[in-house]
C-alpha cells in the first residue's frame, strides 16, 4: 500500500522532533501501522532552516495554505500554536477533507467545539494526544482505556515549568522569583512565562480532559485559572511540616451540582505517588468508579516526547483512515449526539479543603476568636500549627488545615478573620485535596 502523505505546519522544536523520530523509527512504525507514513511537505516561515532540518527530503514552502490545499496530502500536522492562523489552517484542512493532528491545547480548549463539529461533518479525524501532557498517552487512556468507568475526577500535574519551579522552591527553600530566573536560564521556562506560571496552559489541558472525561463541550472560559506567582516559600515549608506538598494541579471533578474545573496551587499528602512527581515531569491521576485510581506519568513537553504523541496520532489515523467514520473513536470520547451540558460550577460553589496561614498578635484569645469564626461557618479544623514568636517578635503564624467546605464559606470566614484586630494583614488560603 502507498505511504500515507503528511504535511507539517511549523517545524520548530516539536516539528523537528516529529520529523526525526518518524525517520529514525520508520521501519518499526511502518510495521505497526501497516503502511508507510511520510512527511512530504513542510511549511515554515523560516524556509532555510526548514530545508536544513529536513535535508532536502521533502518539499518546503513558506505558505501553509499550499499544504492544506494540496490534494496529495492526507494528514496535516498543525504545530504553529495560538488561536489565529492555526485555527484558520486547521479549518481549511478539515474543509479539504484532511485529517488533522495538533498539539495546540490553546486552540482546542477555546475553539474545540467548532473544530470537532466541522471534522465530524466532514468525516475526518482531529487527533490531539500531544495537546495534553506531552508524551503521556493520557487522551487515549481517558477516551479508550477507561470507557467502562463513570469518571469521578481527574487531578493532573500538567505543566512542567511550574512543577520544576515548585520542586526547586521546596528543595532549595528559595522564593518564586529566584527560581523562575533559574528555570529561564536552564530552558525550563520561556522568556515570557506568563501562560505557564499563571496556570493558563494547565487550564487549557484540564479543559480538554474535562470534556473527554464527562462528555461535556470544551469550556475554557468557565475554568478557574490561578498560577503559582503568589506562592511563598514559607507556605511550602509549613505544608511540608504538616505532611503535604504543594503542586499546581489541574482538577476536573464531577459533583451532583455540576463540574468543577479549576487550576490552582494545591496541598496534597506527601505520601501520594503523584506528590513525588518532581522536576519538569507530568502526571495525571484519574479516579473512575470501577477501576479506582490510575496514574499516568512521563515527560509533558520537549521535542521527542511530544513528537511521540504526534506520531501515535498519525499511526492511529493511518490504521483507522479507511474505517467507517461512524465507527471511529469519537473526538471527545462520547458520541457527538450524546454530549451533555452539565454546568461548570462557579468557584464559589466548589467544595474542597483549605490550608490557611495568618499572622497574629501573640496575645490571649486570638485562637479562640479565629476558631469561633470557623465553627460558626461549620468549618472543622483538621490540623493546626502554631509557632512560638521568634526572639524579639510579638507576632506569630497560625496555620490551619480545614475539612471540606464550600469555597464561599471559607471566603466569608476569611473576611471575618481578617477583620479581627489581632490578625495582621491578609490570610493566605491554599486549597487542599486528599486525592483519595
Amino acid at each position: 500500500m502507498k505511504p500515507i502523505k503528511v504535511g507539517l505546519l511549523g517545524i520548530g522544536t516539536v516539528g523537528s522532533g516529529t520529523f526525526n523520530v518518524l525517520k529514525r523509527n520508520q521501519e518499526e512504525i511502518t510495521r505497526r501501522a501497516g503502511r508507510g507514513i511520510e512527511i512530504t511537505m513542510v511549511a515554515d516561515l523560516n524556509v532555510d532552516r526548514a530545508r536544513e532540518l529536513t535535508n532536502g527530503e521533502c518539499e518546503v514552502v513558506n505558505d501553509a495554505n499550499l499544504v492544506v490545499n494540496n490534494p496529495e496530502i492526507d494528514i496535516v500536522i498543525e504545530l504553529i500554536g495560538g488561536y489565529g492562523i492555526a485555527k484558520d489552517l486547521v479549518m481549511k484542512a478539515i474543509a479539504n477533507g484532511k485529517h488533522v493532528v495538533t498539539a495546540n491545547k490553546a486552540l482546542l480548549a477555546t475553539h474545540g467545539n467548532e473544530i470537532f463539529k466541522a471534522a465530524q461533518d466532514k468525516g475526518v479525524m482531529v487527533a490531539f494526544e500531544a495537546a495534553v501532557a506531552g508524551g503521556i498517552p493520557i487522551i487515549k487512556a481517558l477516551r479508550e482505556g477507561l470507557t467502562a468507568n463513570r469518571i469521578q475526577w481527574i487531578a493532573g500535574i500538567i505543566n512542567g515549568t511550574t512543577n520544576f519551579i515548585l520542586s526547586e522552591m521546596r528543595d532549595k527553600g528559595l522564593d518564586f522569583d529566584v527560581v523562575l530566573k533559574e528555570a529561564q536560564r536552564l530552558g525550563y521556562a520561556e522568556a515570557d512565562p506568563t501562560f505557564d506560571i499563571e496556570g493558563v496552559d494547565a487550564a487549557h489541558k484540564a479543559t480538554i480532559m474535562s470534556a473527554i472525561a464527562f462528555g461535556i463541550p470544551v469550556q475554557f472560559d468557565k475554568a478557574h485559572v490561578e498560577g503559582i506567582t503568589k506562592l511563598q516559600a514559607t507556605d511550602i515549608r509549613y505544608a511540608e511540616q504538616l505532611g503535604y506538598r504543594i503542586k499546581l494541579l489541574g482538577i476536573a471533578r464531577r459533583t451532583p451540582n455540576g463540574i468543577e474545573l479549576r487550576v490552582h496551587p494545591t496541598l496534597i499528602p506527601a505520601k501520594r505517588l503523584i506528590a513525588n512527581v518532581e522536576g519538569a515531569m507530568n502526571a495525571v491521576l484519574v479516579q473512575g468508579d470501577a477501576v479506582g485510581a490510575t496514574l499516568y506519568y512521563g515527560k509533558g513537553a520537549g521535542s521527542e516526547p511530544t513528537a511521540s504523541a504526534v506520531i501515535a496520532d498519525l499511526v492511529d489515523i493511518t490504521r483507522l483512515a479507511t474505517a467507517d467514520p461512524e465507527h471511529r473513536v469519537p473526538h471527545l470520547a462520547f458520541q457527538p449526539d450524546a454530549m451533555v451540558d452539565t454546568p461548570i460550577l462557579p468557584m464559589s460553589e466548589i467544595t474542597t479543603s483549605y490550608y490557611l496561614r495568618m499572622r497574629v498578635s501573640d496575645q490571649p484569645g486570638v485562637l479562640a476568636d479565629v476558631t469561633r469564626i470557623l465553627a460558626d461557618s461549620s468549618i472543622s479544623i483538621d490540623a493546626m500549627l502554631q509557632k512560638e514568636p521568634d526572639e524579639g517578635e510579638t507576632r506569630t503564624d497560625i496555620i490551619m488545615l480545614t475539612h471540606q467546605t464550600q469555597e464561599k464559606n471559607i471566603v466569608s470566614a476569611i473576611a471575618k478573620i481578617e477583620a479581627l484586630p489581632t490578625v495582621v494583614g491578609e490570610v493566605t488560603k491554599i486549597r487542599l485535596e486528599q486525592l483519595s
Copy 2:
C-alpha cells in the same frame, strides 16, 4: 442501532464485576460506544449462583458451548482461566466468527500465537487488556499510545499478591512465610498461591508485554521465572540501608544480542517513583527512545478494576466491529506479517547489576580475597556494606552492589567466592536495576 450481544463464559469475581459495571454505567458506556452493549447469555457450571448474580436478566446455561455456538452472540468474554477448556472455547468462538475478550494471561502467554493467527485468518478481534495489570490500560498504551517509539525496556510490578507481601515484609520486618499467611487471611493471596509467589503469573504478563513491545511472538517457555519465596527479611533491610527497595519485577529488554525476558526479585533505587508502589498496586514503567520513561499505575486485580479493562475491550470492539479487519489495531501491535523472531536470551547472557550478600569469618584477608575474585572477572563494586560482628559472634555479613556484568560472569565469580574457606555457606545474589 441494535445493541451488540455479548456472551459471558464464567461469572466469578471478574465476571460478576463485568456484569455489574456494564449495567450500572450502561447509559454512559452507550454514549461512548455509540451502541448498546448487552450481556445476553452467561455460561457457568454453578447455574443457580449465575442466575442470582444476573437477576434473571439474561439467559444462563451450564454448557459454554451453547454460548460460543449461538449465532446471536457477537462477542464472547472468556473468564474461565487456564489452558484447557478455555482454549477450546476461545478457538471455537473464533471459528464461529465471534470477537473474543479474555483476561486469561496464562492462555495467551502459552497459546497466544495460535489464537491470534486463527483470529487474524477469521477477521475477528481477540482483545486482552484485562490480561495484564488489571484495570491499567497498559496494553493500549504499549500498542497504540507509544507506536512512535522503539521501546527499549519494560519493567513492571505486575503481580499484586507479591507486591503486597514485599511491602509488608519491608514495613513490618517480617519473614516471607508469616506475611504469606497474613496475605491469605486478608484475601490478597489465594489458598494455593504458587502461580503468584513463584513468579509464574508475572511471567505470563511480561511475556505478553514483550511481544507487543518488540514485535516478537509470545514465548513463555523462554522466560526466566523466579519468585519471592526465598527472599529474606535481612536482604530487604540491607537493601534499604543502601537506598534500594526490593520488588518482584517483570522485565523485557531489547539488547543488541536479543531480548531479555525475566521475572525475579530486583533491587531498585528507592527514589524511583515505581519503588514507591506499595501494597497490592501494580505499575509498569516503559522506556521508549522518543518519549523516555512513562509509568502506568493502578489496581492490577479485583472484580471491578479488571472489569474496567474487559469493558474497555468491549467498547473498542463495538467501535471497530464494522471496520475493515486490515485496518484495526493488530493484536500484538505489529502487523502479523511484520513480526520478527529476535531470540530470547538465555539467562546466562543477560546483563544487569547485582546485590551480593555473604557470611564471612571476621579475619584479615577475607575482603581482599573476595574483591580479587570479582576484579579478576572484571566485575566492579559500586557500594559495600560490612557490619562489625555481633557481640560474641566471629562471623559477619558483607554486602556488595556490583556494576553491570553478564549473569554468567557473576555466577562463576560466586562459585569461586563460595569455595573460599573464609566464606560460610551460599552467597545470596539478587539482581539490581537502576531503571534509568
